[in-house]
Symmetry: D2
Subunit: 100 residues, 4 copies
Amino acid sequence: MTSGKGHAHHGLKLDTAVRADARRRLLSIRGHVEGILKMLEEDGTYCVDVLKQIKAVQGALGRVGEIVLRSHLADHVVNSAARGDEARVVDELMELLKYR
Amino acid sequence: MTSGKGHAHHGLKLDTAVRADARRRLLSIRGHVEGILKMLEEDGTYCVDVLKQIKAVQGALGRVGEIVLRSHLADHVVNSAARGDEARVVDELMELLKYR
Amino acid sequence: MTSGKGHAHHGLKLDTAVRADARRRLLSIRGHVEGILKMLEEDGTYCVDVLKQIKAVQGALGRVGEIVLRSHLADHVVNSAARGDEARVVDELMELLKYR
Amino acid sequence: MTSGKGHAHHGLKLDTAVRADARRRLLSIRGHVEGILKMLEEDGTYCVDVLKQIKAVQGALGRVGEIVLRSHLADHVVNSAARGDEARVVDELMELLKYR
């Protein structure tokens, strides 16, 4: 597969330990989403209870994002000038960070 | 108390059509989270690709939140003074909206 | 049109005490912005110091926003169904709250 | 003065052209804040008009922040491993970016 999701041509990879941590956290987030889906099956569900759970999931996603971002900064951004791809690296980061 | 997630004592309920729409959207969000989990199984995954997907899921969650919030405002907030629970309703909203 | 900023035709007004509090806070925010302007006059200013100050001002603006929003909810939203302008009130709120 | 706002010991400086651009934008932001202060002097000011202006100022501040952040990334982050202060640089960035 040559999609944007797979092995990128530049060979930069998410750190293995961070990848495992992110995976654990996303499994928990998936469980949290399933909990909201269960709430939404019930006729008596209160809007604010749904909104609280959505906010909690967004917080958890934000924390995964912070972990992956820190790893990316430390492993691939701080040395990008030496590698010579700093223009792309900065553009990618700014695209991610705007309206965050 | 039988959990903050279930049939609240005040009897205010999320609109049925909105509940169904939110459910469809959360099913799609769960699928998106599963897609990220698959990315995280691969050794060559690039940090920025993960971060883009997390940002996309956060956007989708934000849209579900907006739909539920609009429904809550229209069904339960605008008439809360008439019902007499406006103090609680305002406190709940402000708790949700801060740092959003 | 006599500007979107002035005495709106519907006659809903920001509470006087909240208006005074918001004014005091915005005077402080103006001072903070002037502090950043002074930093930006200096040749040796470090980017991160500027970014920290911008973040602090955004936090302070967010707090003024929360105070005005709470006042608006309590004074004008919770009773809008009784007044009959709930459709406009909900639309205005959703416009403000999206991407917040 | 040896505060965190002045000439930092590490000698990293905000780019002169970016500093000038940020200054122009912050002058405009100060004018915008003064416009809100004027609105808040009027008895008939509507909450939502204040909230819209606050949101606009936050957007403008966010754009200054993006400009300074891009400059910082390009000038000081991408080469920090070569300089040897990458640990501090990453910590500073993560502190700025969390809850943004």
